[in-house]
């Protein structure tokens, strides 16, 4: 990431808020709908102050009605609006999966390309804080598995802003997943306007020994593991895919060509998860001979997310899990 531009420190919530505000100023067709996003400014303040600037017609405090509001978003998109639907917690997408999977994702295809669906559905993954099994899921692999969708998961305030702006301008439906624990984290955000192209990964740390592919919350986790392993002489290259689908496989392939080792870390359950897809995809892309050791997945255990701290820590992937995986891999001959 270049740092030549003037920046200031913003939280991810503030950065997302700026993205929404700028896009709403830029395009009258952008409107927001969700629960408690107006008067309350969103439970995590992502929409703070937008009601005052844009009014109730464009910042809609909706009934508790996930299927209704996201279906309405799809319909609005069909006639040229650019809706941004907020899910208070991303797990609630289960209440409207029909509208996302059977409608948003397929309408263009079923119509033979007559329509586009510029629709963003966004919300937080709320794991790691004891919210238990119905408020803590990482469901991204379901949407990666659905043709027609784009899936985005930012890790930094900088990326969150640039990616959300791109998602709003995108003519295809975007599932935009934010990590609740990252909302309050600060990071540098350029003063001037910018957009980050969807489908582009970012090398968050360079290293010669092992390629670690991460997104969202697993990016800071991987960076922490990298700092720890560096003290032992193992250098991780941390690739933040930012957009889970489409995947910027070229950036990962370049890194594997250098390191010959791949770990994919993901907070969803291991089986049928995103890490499996990336490993399979990269083995096909670069060939098994490009690897000096077997590619590895570090993911959550195949359980619902439990409540108690000790239990949740046991299920979610940790820095220690990643460090152990890397050590096992670098010990291989």
């Amino acid at each position: 990431m270049t740092t030549a531009v003037a920046t200031r420190e913003l939280t991810m919530s503030e950065a997302l808020n700026e993205a929404l505000r700028e896009e709403m100023r830029r395009d009258d067709g952008v409107f927001l709908i969700g629960e408690d996003i107006g008067r309350h400014g969103g439970l995590f303040k992502v929409t703070d102050g937008l009601l005052a600037e844009f009014g109730a017609a464009r910042v809609i405090d909706s009934p508790i009605s996930e299927a209704g509001i996201s279906g309405a978003g799809v319909g609005a998109a069909l006639v040229g609006a650019r809706p941004v639907v907020e899910l208070q917690i991303s797990d609630f997408i289960t209440l409207t999966i029909d509208q996302v999977v059977n409608h948003a994702a397929k309408w263009r295809y079923m119509s033979g390309g007559q329509v586009s669906v510029p629709f963003v559905i966004r919300g937080p993954i709320s794991n790691g804080i004891g919210m238990a099994a119905q408020h803590s899921q990482s469901l991204e692999s379901w949407f990666v598995h659905t043709p027609g969708l784009i899936v985005v998961m930012p890790a930094t305030p900088h990326d969150a802003k640039g990616l959300l702006k791109a998602a709003i301008r995108e003519d295809n439906p975007v599932v935009f997943l934010e990590k609740r624990l990252l909302y309050a984290r600060k990071g540098p955000v350029p003063e001037s306007e910018y957009v980050i192209a969807l489908g582009t990964a970012d090398v968050k740390r360079e290293g010669d020994d092992v390629t670690v592919v991460a997104a969202g919350a697993t990016v800071p986790l991987a960076l922490q593991a990298a700092r720890q392993l560096a003290r032992e002489g193992v250098e991780l290259e941390v690739i933040d895919v930012r957009t889970l689908k489409p995947l910027d496989a070229d950036t990962i392939a370049e890194s594997i060509a250098k390191t010959g080792r791949l770990v994919v870390v993901n907070e969803g359950p291991l089986t049928g998860g995103y890490a499996s897809e990336v490993v399979a995809r990269m083995v096909e892309a670069v060939g098994i001979d490009a690897f000096r050791s077997t590619p590895v997945r570090v993911a959550a255990k195949d359980t619902p997310i439990p409540y108690a701290t000790a239990l949740e820590r046991e299920v979610l992937p940790t820095v220690d899990d990643l460090v152990a995986a890397v050590k096992a891999m670098t010990a291989e001959r």
Partner: protein, 334 residues
């Protein structure tokens, strides 16, 4: 509320022609299914023609509709081209959706046909959001969402109705109560006599009309359209009718009482409409016969066009997954 007087003769003739087109189109589609020229299924609209045509006759070209798995009638009533419809349902490259949608997913944006949705009740929310967005854009267009009595038991019906009401969205919900959800009678699935009363729970008018009476349907639609355009919000129209065919071409067995079918055949909406036009001396009996022949001829021509059309290039299977730009069909960067 402003409701126009009896429509002009040309309009009435067009409505009769559209009803006859639907009747002829569905008969032909069932035939083509038997001949294995149509895949999947066909859900005929036969017997319900007055609803689609009555409602769409109250709409302008800039208004929109959404439809269902039983959607051919809505498309024809909204002015879609029979040739491109028949090509679509016979899986040809020249069809509205290039053969990607088929019978249950005909879409024609240039006619304000937002799409047919084969998830029961699925498009109610889409219609609601489209209506709201059109209002946000400062347009005076309205959106009609057609659905069946079975759909009124889906959660999305209730969510959409509530949302449309609080947003005052210019949407008209047209419930085609054909009494049966495949094999389940309405009274076994709904414990109130009319779907229309459900509107009361959401704070907007619900009206019951005879769905086999073109004039009754049209008048109810005109009132609902005027209300929506005025910014007063949604209306639920429940049009009582009956499908005088089995549920679909793929499910020919029918457990409905034969005497009930006979009763509804005797209430045929096309016969009733034609008789009324002749009685009121608006259209001559000869012209009525001509219109029927014209519809049959148009459907024959549409079929010839469709069957002479090429099948899609297999490579087209991976196009239109994403809007043009940077993505391949499998969501990879080009």
């Amino acid at each position: 509320m402003a409701v126009s007087a009896v429509p002009r003769t040309e309009q009435l003739e067009l409505s009769l022609l559209q009803m006859q087109r639907i009747r002829a189109f569905e008969a032909k589609a069932m035939e083509l299914f038997q001949e294995k020229l149509i895949r999947g299924s066909v859900h005929p609209y036969t017997g319900m023609e007055a609803i689609a045509v009555g409602v769409c006759s109250a709409l302008g070209e800039h208004d929109y509709i959404t439809s269902t798995h039983r959607g051919h009638g809505h498309s024809i009533a909204k002015g879609l081209d029979l040739k491109l419809m028949m090509a679509e349902i016979t899986g040809r490259a020249t069809g509205y959706c290039g053969g990607k949608g088929g019978s249950m997913h005909i879409t024609a944006m240039r006619h304000g046909m937002l799409g047919a949705d084969a998830i029961v009740a699925g498009s109610l929310a889409i219609a609601t959001g489209a209506a709201y967005a059109l209002r946000l854009q400062g347009k005076d267009a309205v959106v009609v969402s057609f659905f069946g009595d079975g759909a009124s038991n889906q959660g999305i019906f209730h969510e959409s109705a509530n949302l449309a009401s609080v947003l005052a969205a210019p949407v008209i919900y047209v419930c085609e109560n054909n009494q049966w959800a495949i094999s389940t009678p309405f009274q076994d699935a709904v414990n109130v006599p009319d779907v229309a009363v459900r509107a009361n729970g959401y704070g907007f008018p619900g009206v019951v009309v005879d769905g086999n009476d073109f004039f009754a349907v049209r008048e109810a639609a005109e009132r609902a359209v005027a209300r929506a355009r005025a910014g007063d919000g949604p209306t639920l129209i429940e049009a009582k009718s009956y499908r005088i065919t089995p549920h679909s071409a793929a499910t020919p067995n029918d457990n409905r009482p034969p005497e009930e079918l006979d009763l509804w055949r005797a209430r045929d909406p096309i016969v009733r409409f034609a008789e009324a036009l002749v009685e009121q001396q608006l259209v001559s009996a000869e012209r009525v016969a001509e219109i029927e022949a014209e519809a049959v001829r148009e459907v024959e021509e549409a079929t010839e066009f469709a069957l002479a059309s090429p099948y899609p290039d297999p490579e087209a299977a991976v196009t239109d997954v994403y809007a043009p730009g940077e993505w391949n069909a499998d969501g990879r960067l080009r």
